[in-house]
């Protein structure tokens, strides 16, 4: 039971390939090494929450690497590591439920935006996210007045990414700051963005190169090509959220 709960549904996604940016995660290559998690946290100023809160399900990492067990010893098998982050749904269930437009869709990038300073913390979006990809600032994890150890640690905060305070929802952004930066660079050089030019922190770090990122509206890019292979599938595709993260099944 448990092991097949989360296997990505295999469907041919080419017909409903809508959107702009997409990510492909090769579960066969993912070694669960957590480099993406560390890189993402460093890039996006994700706080650490401490032992008690982390154990209580308040871990704030934007990526979590899932794994399940199937069978029993000695025929036990760990299912393929499955990094789950915001799937950047084209039709995101999290968006319409926000009463204050803190969770909205970017029309230009076709991404789910989370506008931190607009968030009032109803947490409806998180409930309605079938992927449980959203994390909530349960406390002032980034406030050096409450956590003196941050006085020095704060030095590496990324100035391109807002530091969130308590009561605000957050989630993976596909490193929108990098997308924007690359777009600006391309525009100033009067050219199109090249395939592979935008690299989110997770993909950049991944030692196994299991994460690929790029345009899915262009059939020639790496992500588009990977997304049409027979191993490609989406998490909970039957919900019709049209997620923009494609998983390539592992183990075969």
């Amino acid at each position: 039971m448990a092991n097949d709960l989360n296997s990505p549904v295999k469907m041919n996604m080419s017909q409903d390939a809508q959107g702009k940016w997409g990510m492909v995660i090769d579960q066969d290559l993912c070694t669960g090494c957590q480099a993406c998690v560390a890189a993402c946290s460093m890039e996006n100023n994700v706080p650490f929450v401490g032992e008690v809160d982390a154990g209580y399900g308040r871990n704030m990492q934007w990526i979590r690497i899932e794994r399940f067990w199937s069978g029993s010893f000695p025929d036990i098998k760990m299912t393929s590591y499955q990094p789950v982050m915001c799937q950047q749904c084209h039709k995101a269930p999290c968006e319409p439920v926000c009463p204050v437009y803190a969770s909205v869709h970017s029309e230009s990038e076709d991404l789910n935006l989370q506008v931190y300073n607009r968030c009032i913390g109803t947490r409806y979006c998180a409930n309605n996210c079938p992927y449980q990809a959203r994390t909530f600032n349960w406390r002032d994890y980034q406030d050096a007045r409450q956590r003196p150890e941050l006085v020095t640690l704060q030095n590496h905060l990324n100035p391109d990414v807002t530091v969130r305070r308590r009561g605000v929802m957050e989630k993976c952004t596909f490193c929108i700051q990098r997308i924007r930066h690359t777009e600006d660079t391309a525009e100033s050089e009067n050219r199109e963005i090249r395939d592979g030019e935008v690299v989110p922190a997770c993909a950049q770090a991944c030692p196994a190169s299991a994460i690929t990122f790029g345009r899915i509206d262009d059939p020639t890019t790496q992500v588009s090509q990977a997304a049409v292979t027979s191993r490609a599938g989406h998490l909970l595709e039957d919900l019709g959220t049209i997620p923009h993260v494609t998983y390539l099944a592992g183990g075969a």
């Binding site: 039971m1 448990a2 090769d26 066969d28 290559l29 070694t31 669960g32 090494c33 957590q34 480099a35 998690v37 560390a38 890189a39 946290s41 460093m42 650490f48 929450v49 401490g50 032992e51 008690v52 982390a54 154990g55 209580y56 399900g57 871990n59 990492q61 979590r64 690497i65 794994r67 399940f68 067990w69 069978g71 029993s72 010893f73 000695p74 036990i76 098998k77 760990m78 590591y81 003196p148 150890e149 941050l150 006085v151 020095t152 640690l153 704060q154 030095n155 590496h156 990324n158 100035p159 922190a201 950049q204 770090a205 991944c206 030692p207 196994a208 190169s209 299991a210 183990g251 075969a252």
Partner: protein, 746 residues
């Protein structure tokens, strides 16, 4: 030109342009005069809103991955992999990513400190102890120690990294005829480098770290090697694994792991064979024997003593499985067998390493793509100076114990944490009159030192590192400071917060103060000049990534590109002619103690030996158990049921060497006769994030070694007792979700 040269001018002089996608900034020799200051007083070359990128080398482990650090207004913001560095080709592991939390760690040594042994370096309020002496006095202390003691009374204990400091200290010890510096690291011990090199020497007739070409193989049998975790050069090996799976679009490489406890590496295997601990070598021999038998050839000497049936019995792998695997191995185009991890940490570890090499020799893949090579020697290296084995460390500790060492310098290693307690280093320290620690962080060893003269953090330092493993090309990774230090913003003028100084600079200055042969042998103004003097050996070398005829230009390129490496394939293909001729006794491993359970300590893959003081590494879940911030003991659910313990129950684990208490994690993928514990926690110092968290499984280990002298860390038999206490483990996984039937484990 004024003596204070601006960075921009320097760059013009050096004629360096932008290189990769990021603007990499080299830092030439003149740049030592350039201050990289924090944002409160902005240097003239930083622009608001623009980041500056520096290439450097990761110092979190000894693999020597190239980094590119993004800095912003004098602060380091993020590190990325250096795409050109042959070790990691732009990738990093979690530890590398977290290196910034070392740089900006709240607990670093504030400056040179004289303190009484055992006193904590930070108070209960986590405030660091203030520096209580000047660097001049500190240098005087070092100078006195070097000049007033007999050379053979001076000892250096260093970390595993083969870096410029090791070269410098080697030169220093040579100059005064002191014993060569001892190098040690817990990772090296877990990797059993001595054993691997000994096996290569015995069978291939050439010493060196084996290089397993996973990327070009299409079938990998790994005997305990945790090559995706912390073993040798994990980032490079993960790249190899990636290639194993996806290099050939038509045939996915197959991977079988033999080990008693499913490691993160084992989790990625297509087949995980739960083998009795200590029989890995036997299984390798059995496989070889079966292959030869199946092919109809006559058995070579290596397999003369092999009784396949009894091996099947003792290893717990059925004969059918052995035959099937032997067939698979024989039928594959590029099979590769790797040994490592707990398989080598047994009393018969060397036999295992050799048996596995023999298996490779049998399929004739030594020195071939997808087979076994020896790692290329790094530029400037005469040979690979391996870290000390436990046997050598035992001798070293005995020397300390005897009182013949008057002053001990410790740098880059935390032996009080990284050595088993049964090697009584703490006692031996009592017989050493003076201990000087160059620790950046207030670790256990620093606490036991008389002086702490903190070295700069890797991201503040100059240096190079001779890459020992992972790269196919001969590689020298270069390091340069990416920030000038950590400053406080209090007051109008920013004050340096962590007043660290490069150990090389301290030693060079002390050498001058000490005078005599030392002063004349080490006539360098500072660390950078010493590095340049070494780099001179590479001038005019044209088979490299870049070449330059003049040292300043070379150094500029070296800093800008993050090192120098050859573009050729430098893997050494040894001769395998005698590999099949060594006979094996084919004996199972001996175990210490009369407990009923095998004990397998393993390195926590994310945190490893020195990550515990970085809160992000603490909070990153262990890849297999998803536990964070603590230690646990992995017990098979059936065994747990027999013992009457459940998840989070605290149990007392005792061996002949000692006992520890840890919370139970019912781990479904471990043999019922085996328990496992991660290494990485259990610090008694090392900062607020590390101290008092979990336990150190080293407390359970004896100093038993394998034939090569490496610690037989998996050779303990332990017993478990219920304590009745309960301590909740924090895990990322929802316990009710990952198993069937709401937590009723399979």
């Amino acid at each position: 030109m004024s003596d204070k040269i601006s960075r921009r001018d320097f760059l013009k002089l050096a004629g360096v342009g932008a290189a990769t996608t990021a603007v990499l900034t080299g830092c030439g020799p003149a740049a030592r005069l350039v201050q990289r200051e924090p944002y409160t007083k902005m240097p003239e070359y930083t622009y608001n809103g623009l980041s500056t990128y520096y290439a450097t080398t990761c110092r979190e482990c000894s693999a020597g991955c190239g980094l590119i650090a993004r800095t912003y207004q004098g602060r380091a913001i993020k590190v990325e992999g250096n795409p050109n560095n042959p070790v990691n080709l732009g990738k990093t592991c979690a530890r590398g990513q977290a290196t910034l939390e070392g740089l900006y760690n709240p607990q670093r040594v504030r400056g040179p400190i004289k303190h009484s042994r055992g006193q904590s370096l930070y108070g209960s309020d986590n405030q660091n102890v203030e520096s209580n002496m000047s660097w001049d006095d500190a240098i005087q202390v070092v100078a006195d120690a070097l000049s007033k003691n007999q050379p053979n009374e001076i000892a250096f204990l260093m970390g595993m990294a083969p870096d410029h400091l090791f070269d410098l200290i080697t030169d220093l010890t040579k100059a005064i005829n002191a014993p060569a510096p001892i190098r040690f690291g817990a990772l090296g011990m877990f990797e059993a480098r001595t054993t691997l090199m000994q096996a290569a020497n015995d069978l291939l007739g050439q010493s060196g770290l084996p290089f397993f070409d996973i990327g070009n193989a299409d079938l990998v049998f790994s005997f305990g090697a945790n090559f995706l975790e912390t073993w040798l050069s994990p980032v490079a090996q993960t790249r190899g694994y990636s290639s194993l799976r996806r290099r050939n679009p038509n045939q996915r490489g197959y991977f079988v792991q033999f080990e008693a406890r499913m490691s993160q590496t084992g989790a990625k295997a297509d087949e995980w064979i739960p083998i009795t601990p200590g029989t890995e070598g036997l299984v390798a021999l059995a496989l070889g024997s079966l292959m030869v038998t199946a092919s109809g050839a006559s058995l070579p000497a290596a397999y003369s003593n092999v009784d396949v049936n009894s091996i099947a019995n003792v290893s717990g792998v059925t004969l059918d499985t052995l035959k099937r695997l032997a067939n698979m191995f024989a039928g594959s185009a590029h099979p590769l067998a790797i040994s490592g991890g707990a398989a080598l940490g047994q009393s018969n570890g060397l036999q295992t390493a050799e048996a596995v090499l023999t298996l490779n020799a049998l399929v004739n893949n030594i020195g071939k793509d997808g087979g076994v090579f020896l790692s290329p020697l790094a530029p400037l290296a005469d040979e690979y100076h391996r870290p000390a084995s436990i046997r050598e460390m035992d001798d070293f500790v005995a020397k300390l114990q005897s009182g013949s060492i008057k002053v001990l310098f410790v740098h880059g290693v935390n032996p009080l944490f990284e050595l088993p307690k049964s090697i009584a280093l703490r006692d031996a320290f009592k017989n050493v009159p003076q201990i000087v620690s160059f620790a950046t962080f207030p670790d256990e060893t620093a606490v036991q030192a008389d002086y702490i003269f903190p070295d700069k953090h890797g991201l503040e330092s100059w240096g190079y590192q001779k890459v020992a493993a992972g790269a196919g090309s001969s590689t020298l990774s270069g390091a340069q400071p990416v920030v000038s230090g950590v400053y406080t913003a209090d007051g109008a003028v920013p004050q340096i917060f962590y007043d660290a100084r490069a150990t090389a600079d301290v030693l060079l200055a002390a050498a001058q103060k000490a005078g005599g042969t030392l002063a004349s042998a080490l006539k360098f103004k500072d660390e950078l000049e010493y590095i340049q003097s070494q780099l001179k050996g590479l001038l005019g070398n044209t088979d490299g990534f870049f070449s330059a005829a003049e040292i300043n230009t070379f150094t500029a390129y070296f800093q800008q590109n993050g090192g120098w490496w050859k573009t050729s394939d430098d893997r050494v293909a040894p001769s395998a002619s005698n590999a099949l001729n060594k006979t094996f006794n084919a004996t199972p491993a001996q175990f210490v103690g009369d407990g009923e359970l095998y004990f397998v300590p393993f390195v926590e893959p994310v945190m490893a030996e020195a990550g515990a003081n970085k809160p992000w590494l603490q909070e990153i879940p262990d890849p297999t158990t998803t536990v964070v911030w603590n230690s646990w003991v992995e017990i098979n659910p059936d065994t747990a049921a027999q013992l009457g313990v459940d998840n989070d129950d605290v149990v007392l684990i005792s061996s002949d060497a000692g006992s520890v208490e840890a919370s139970v994690y019912k781990y479904p993928a471990i043999r019922p006769d085996t328990i496992a514990m991660p290494f990485g926690q259990g610090h008694t110092a090392y900062g607020q994030f590390a101290q008092g968290r979990g336990v150190n499984p080293f407390d359970l280990l004896s100093n038993a070694t394998n034939e090569a002298g490496d610690l037989a860390f998996a050779s303990m038999k332990v017993s478990i007792k219920k304590t009745g206490k309960k301590r909740q483990l924090s895990r990322l996984e929802g316990v009710i979700g990952v198993y069937e039937n709401f937590g009723q484990q399979p």
